[in-house]
């Protein structure tokens, strides 16, 4: 895919910003030994509330969920930033964000104990970040700026 300079800068900036966000969120959880998603899950709302409460109420499942969440965030963030397997990382990120969205959907009539940082109706920042990852999936840039460029070349050299 050919990009103009403006398009390329825009896409890479978007990739880096989201990667930055995921990586930092993940690492903070990894490095904080006491972190757990329990309270967040207990505060969930909407149609999937029972599912998230079930996770929170089951020690083993909760620990696995926590472990998966923190490392998935970190890894996805790393891949987006570094520019490697970006399409897979984008799909993984969209999956996580979709879970966050359905656990706390900004639907009318649902109230959360934990306050939100703005006013939302149907659309919130989680959903927008999800859409942004979709763009990254559709417009790959890692072969131009990113580790993929190096690996591709090294791999192709022998041919």
């Amino acid at each position: 895919m050919e990009y103009s300079k403006t398009k390329l800068v825009t896409l890479i900036l978007l990739r880096w910003l989201i990667g930055w966000h995921f990586f930092y969120e993940g690492m903070v959880k990894v490095l904080n030994s006491g972190w757990s998603s329990k309270m967040y899950l207990l505060d969930s709302g909407g149609f999937a509330k029972p599912f998230f409460e079930w996770i929170a109420g089951n020690e083993t499942i909760l620990n696995l969920t926590d472990l998966f969440n923190m490392w998935a965030l970190t890894l996805i963030g790393f891949l987006l930033l570094a520019g490697f397997w970006v399409r897979i990382a984008s799909i993984g990120g969209m999956f996580l964000l979709a879970l966050y969205f359905i656990s706390h959907p900004p639907f009318p009539g649902i109230e959360y104990i934990f306050p939100s940082d703005g006013s939302y109706f149907l659309v919130n920042k989680t959903l927008i970040e999800l859409a942004a990852l979709w763009i990254l999936f559709a417009f790959p840039t890692a072969h131009i700026f990113g580790l993929e460029r190096i690996f591709k070349k090294s791999f192709n050299r022998g041919k």
Partner: protein
């Protein structure tokens, strides 16, 4: 040829590729710095004041001491009596069936039911029931027979025997220990009679209705050497144990003022209980209900809402202040106050009651250099909580516990100047059931901790404090080594005297004093 060279050149990794490939590298450096500074701040925020705190959290629950079943007689199987039976593991089959039905589509109820079912077997047998209202007595008997925690139609054991008077019940050889859940004015008469017959006593709070009987019950309990527990189940509240350890460590500095409150705003909270439509002079032994109280014609209102009249009740001071007092007596070892000054009135419930619905009391402890304030209303639910105020910080105490450093603290002055402690933000939070203590690590946790909302989710390991309190009493009975439970007769005596001082001050419109040499209220 030249073209081939170019193509080869293009396939090779060149400097441009490396730069573009590793373009994100500096970002990781900045992120690393971000993480380092984030955790640096957080560690500083932990303040390291309370590093050895792990040791002070009560660990688990004491085992049930083995031995023969303790045979229990219950005097008063009304609302509170039934609750205590439940804490012992006995629930009426109809009520259990109701729980089961509620649990079908309500998570709270299903957890509540599961908690009841998981409650340890305390190895007791309900052998005797006494209640002046036939219906309550019958219900108490049916409950005592439900030894398998079964619902309607389930398998029941033989029903406990009903005694028409407590005097007969406490003389029964089938009874080892007595639970008293009568109105306040009958606590001491039943307790004394039980103790004289060598029965162990678990008595609901407050200990006594009048001052003179307080000395008498203490004497009889001590002379007879029975195991006595007053029903302040707050003795089992985890956060109080933690609070005590923290204050003993000097975390708050010099404590000069304690504020405790009662805020309720519904008829039930104001003791306007439902009147059973089936109740009548035919099925209530009115004379026995009156007991030591001044004679009054039969009155359903007085029978069911007895807490509203001094004739049977100890008012806000005896009924609700005592909870607060006993909590603080446990935490700070307060003892009987030097003086009490009370005021208040009947300001909301103009329903013929004689006890006030608004009451404010100030208790002085000159030897401890502190004042204990109690403020109560039955007509507003504004939550005020318990606050223990020290020079270096204050503690907010409910089921959760928060400590805030004081901006003008001497002890924390350096840390406040350094910025490692932020005044008026929690430097310590304790949420029961959470294993970690210095635990405000994420914004979410901080938010929940500040609002005390974590409490209802305690890893499914919530314990009924009344169950623990009864368990402690039963363990002492079985140990037979002279050990007494936490709310023993001395603690009970202090509780009763403090409450009476407030009540006398209210009645007589004057400051009253405790003469500690002669043990008299003057």
């Amino acid at each position: 040829m030249e073209q081939d060279n170019n193509a080869n050149e293009h396939k090779k990794l060149n400097r441009r590729d490396i730069i573009k490939g590793l373009a994100a590298l500096p970002a990781f450096g900045i992120l690393g710095y971000g993480l380092w500074s984030h955790f640096g701040e957080q560690n500083a925020g932990k303040s390291h004041l309370l590093e050895d705190i792990g040791s002070i959290i009560p660990k688990g629950v004491p085992n049930v001491v083995q031995g023969d079943p303790v045979r229990i007689g219950i005097v008063g199987s009304g609302g509170r009596g039934m609750y205590l039976l439940k804490a012992l593991g006995f629930l009426h089959p109809d009520e259990l069936a109701e729980y089961e039905e509620n649990a079908l589509n309500d998570k709270w109820w299903s957890e509540y039911l599961a908690q009841f079912r998981a409650q340890d077997d305390l190895n007791v047998k309900i052998t005797a029931v006494c209640d002046v209202f036939d219906k309550h007595a019958q219900r108490g008997m049916e409950t005592g027979a439900n030894i398998h925690r079964a619902g309607k139609g389930g398998k029941m054991a033989e029903q406990p025997k009903r005694f028409l008077t407590y005097q007969e019940l406490v003389q029964s050889p089938e009874v080892d220990a007595v639970i008293i859940a009568t109105p306040d004015h009958l606590h001491v008469p039943v307790a004394i009679e039980a103790a004289r017959n060598g029965k162990h006593v678990y008595c609901e709070k407050p200990l006594s209705w009048t001052v003179p009987e307080t000395y008498e019950v203490r004497k009889v309990v001590k002379d007879q050497g029975i195991v006595f527990q007053l029903g302040h189940q707050g003795r089992q509240t985890e956060s109080y144990h933690v609070a005590k350890s923290l204050i003993d460590k000097g975390v708050l500095g010099k404590v000069s003022l304690i504020e405790v409150c009662t805020n309720r705003n519904d008829p039930n909270g104001a003791w306007v209980y439902e009147i059973d439509p089936e109740a009548s002079p035919q099925n209530i032994d009115w004379k026995q209900f009156i007991g030591p109280a001044p004679w009054h014609e039969f009155s359903l209102e007085r029978f069911f809402r007895w807490r509203c009249w001094w004739d049977y009740s100890t008012g806000l001071s005896g009924d609700l202040f005592t909870h607060e007092f006993d909590a603080l007596n446990q935490i700070l070892d307060l003892g009987i106050p030097h003086s009490a000054m009370a005021s208040g009135g009947i300001y909301f419930y103009k329903d013929g009651r004689t006890v006030p619905d608004v009451l404010n009391m100030a208790f002085e402890y000159p030897e401890k250099d502190l004042t204990l304030l109690y403020s109560a209303t039955l007509a507003s639910e504004k939550k005020r909580g318990k606050v223990i105020m020290g020079h270096d910080g204050h503690m907010q105490l409910d089921e959760t516990l928060l400590i805030m450093a004081d901006p003008k603290s001497t002890k924390y002055a350096d840390k406040i100047a350094e910025g490692t402690i932020e005044p008026n933000k929690p430097i310590f939070s304790y949420v029961p059931g959470q294993e970690k203590v210095d635990a405000i690590t994420t914004a979410t946790e901080k938010y929940f901790a500040e609002r005390g909302l974590l409490y209802t989710y305690r890893d499914g390991k919530t314990f009924d404090t009344s169950h623990l309190h009864l368990r402690e009493w039963l363990n002492c009975i079985r140990l037979k080594d002279g050990s007494q439970p936490s709310c023993n007769i001395d603690a009970a005596f202090e509780e009763a005297m403090a409450a009476h001082m407030g009540t006398i001050s209210y009645h007589e419109n004057r400051r009253v004093f405790w003469d500690s040499v002669n043990e008299k209220i003057v």
